[in-house]
């Protein structure tokens, strides 16, 4: 399989004005350079589903924005489907789809179907293939009931489903998803993850998904790239990460008296189910939450093993 995304020594520095008061800073402002992405290199094969994860401010979104032709890099090179993104913006747009969880590409006051029609015109899609494509995606993402609603009246989860459909209308080969589950509740997150994976498998779409939620990568992706402070610190399969760093579960139970007990289970030594059974046997459990280790802890562990 050929590489559809190739990134080499990609770097992005931002010039940020130092906060200061007084007239001097007005006439002669001082700046500092912040390195958001620091010489990262990786490759993604066609059809691969890759999670690009890291804590807040790690450089995930900046990398995706360079690969989707939004930002110019400070140095380094990248090829997306054989094109240098920042030099071939319009051409590349036909090959990629983008979803930014923090903002919308739909028109705020227009019904969702009008936004889709507008996207169809923007991507030069012919009437009949467009209608056929839309009908397929509407069915897959179960949004028929939402089509006549203006974007402003949709819930976050509903809007995200429509956003993904909008980004897939022109059948892109690569889909960049920047925090697609941000702000969603557990159920909505599950639905979005399932739909993204289902669509990618069905159409062999290459996925690059950023998130700081480790569940996103476990449920959707097969490979994971972790970056921290702009540097790439892990690039391997999800199973490798799971074996090495995601082998803990945090279980918190609430007993009948309202007492909270938190315990860490090493899943290599003891399956999660067995640990739960033991806790239920020992205490009268009224509530329970199970969590993966937080991103910060995984990163700490990666560094400590280096």
């Amino acid at each position: 399989m050929t590489d559809i995304i190739e990134v080499s020594q990609l770097t992005k520095k931002f010039k940020i004005q130092k906060p200061s008061s007084g007239l001097k800073s007005f006439f002669k402002p001082e700046y500092k350079n912040v390195t958001a992405v620091d010489k990262i290199s990786f490759a993604i094969k066609k059809g691969e589903r890759v999670a690009f994860i890291g804590p807040n401010g790690a450089g995930k979104s900046t990398t995706i924005k360079m690969l989707s032709s939004i930002l110019y890099p400070t140095s380094g090179t990248a090829l997306v489907n054989g094109l240098v993104p920042w030099d071939n913006r319009k051409k590349l747009a036909y090959d990629i789809g983008t979803v930014f969880g923090q903002r919308s590409q739909l028109w705020y006051n227009l019904p969702v179907q009008d936004s889709f029609a507008l996207m169809g015109k923007i991507y030069d899609l012919d009437e009949i293939p467009f209608k056929r494509r839309l009908s397929k995606l509407v069915k897959l993402f179960e949004i028929r009931d939402l089509l006549e609603h203006p974007t402003r009246s949709l819930s976050l989860g509903q809007r995200m489903r429509c956003e993904i459909v909008a980004s897939l209308l022109h059948k892109p080969q690569i889909l960049f998803l920047d925090e697609p589950t941000i702000g969603l509740d557990v159920t909505a997150k599950e639905i979005i993850r399932d739909l993204i994976k289902k669509q990618a498998l069905e159409e062999d779409t290459t996925l690059l998904l950023t998130s700081h939620d480790t569940d996103d990568m476990e449920k959707v992706c097969e490979r994971v790239i972790i970056i921290n402070k702009g540097k790439l610190i892990f690039n391997d399969s999800i199973s490798a990460l799971r074996d090495s760093y995601l082998n803990k579960k945090y279980i918190e139970i609430t007993t009948e008296g309202g007492k909270k007990i938190r315990t860490v289970v090493n899943t290599k030594e003891k399956p999660t189910k067995q640990a739960i059974d033991e806790l239920v046997k020992k205490y009268h459990v009224t509530d329970m939450t199970i969590e993966n280790p937080p991103m910060e802890e995984i990163i700490k562990e990666i560094y400590s093993r280096e």
């Binding site: 900046t62 032709s69 319009k90 747009a93 227009l110 009008d114 923007i122």
Partner: protein, 264 residues
């Protein structure tokens, strides 16, 4: 090339249809706004009519010249507000990162940004513009087409100047108000009789605040067409157009995007 242009025209019409649809979500509100805009413009015209009635002329300008200026100014501003107002929101798009949406499509980002916003009330400016042309007394087929052409050139100038102001957001954050204020200052200067600007003021109003390309040259060309003035007008407008495009292109290379929550 021709097929591409035709597609762009179709997209433009589709976007305008969507903008009108949005405006007509509340039909009565939209129509009242158009009427109020016309009344507002006419009250301004009335003020100048009173001045000319009492003073006779201002440095050689009479109410007829002023009416021609209002025709050009109102038509140019109506074209800007109805079909390209989005450019005024560029600083906001830059600050909150919404510019990203326009940069990931296969169309010209400038075209999509410009058409992303439309103010329906400004149809009232067209009403005032054409009314003032007929009140100017310089009515003929030749002057009519010259007025249409000059209004279009004035629109290109307004657009270019606003684009330059909007691009300041690539350098200064939160510059929406700064851009708006400078743009409004330019419109205010362009709405005065051009004859009051002489000497260094004239240089200033043809360079830093290019209001003269809206007031001075169009009025003289519509009244009495001459090639030197027409070439100066075309040259000045083209220069601002090219500078604004270069500034936008430079800005994109320095764009740092943002992540503010929200929708378009």
């Amino acid at each position: 090339m021709a097929a591409r242009f035709l597609k762009l025209c179709k997209l433009f019409l589709f976007i305008q249809k969507s903008n009108i649809k949005t405006a007509f979500l509340n039909k009565s509100d939209a129509l009242i706004n158009v009427i109020m805009m016309t009344i507002n413009n006419l009250s301004f015209v009335f003020m100048w009519w009173v001045i000319f009635e009492n003073k006779g002329s201002v440095n050689g300008w009479h109410f007829e010249e002023m009416a021609l200026l209002f025709a050009v100014m109102n038509n140019a501003f109506a074209t800007f507000a109805l079909f390209a107002r989005g450019i005024q929101l560029l600083p906001e798009y830059i600050d909150n990162g919404n510019l990203d949406n326009f940069l990931t499509t296969p169309q010209s980002s400038l075209f999509l940004i410009s058409t992303s916003e439309s103010t329906f009330a400004n149809w009232g400016d067209y009403i005032t513009g054409f009314l003032m042309y007929f009140l100017s007394g310089y009515v003929s087929w030749k002057s009519f087409w010259l007025m249409v052409l000059c209004s279009f050139l004035a629109f290109v100038l307004l657009y270019s100047f606003r684009l330059i102001m909007s691009c300041l957001a690539f350098l200064i954050s939160d510059s929406q108000r700064l851009g708006d204020n400078i743009f409004m200052a330019m419109i205010t200067f362009a709405s005065q009789p051009a004859s009051i600007f002489t000497g260094w003021y004239k240089v200033l109003f043809l360079t830093i605040i290019p209001a003269g390309f809206i007031s001075l040259y169009p009025v003289s060309i519509i009244k009495d067409f001459n090639w030197p003035n027409f070439i100066i007008l075309i040259g000045g407008v083209s220069a601002f157009w090219i500078i604004s495009l270069l500034f936008y292109r430079w800005g994109l290379k320095h764009y740092s995007s943002g992540n503010r929550f929200g929708v378009r």
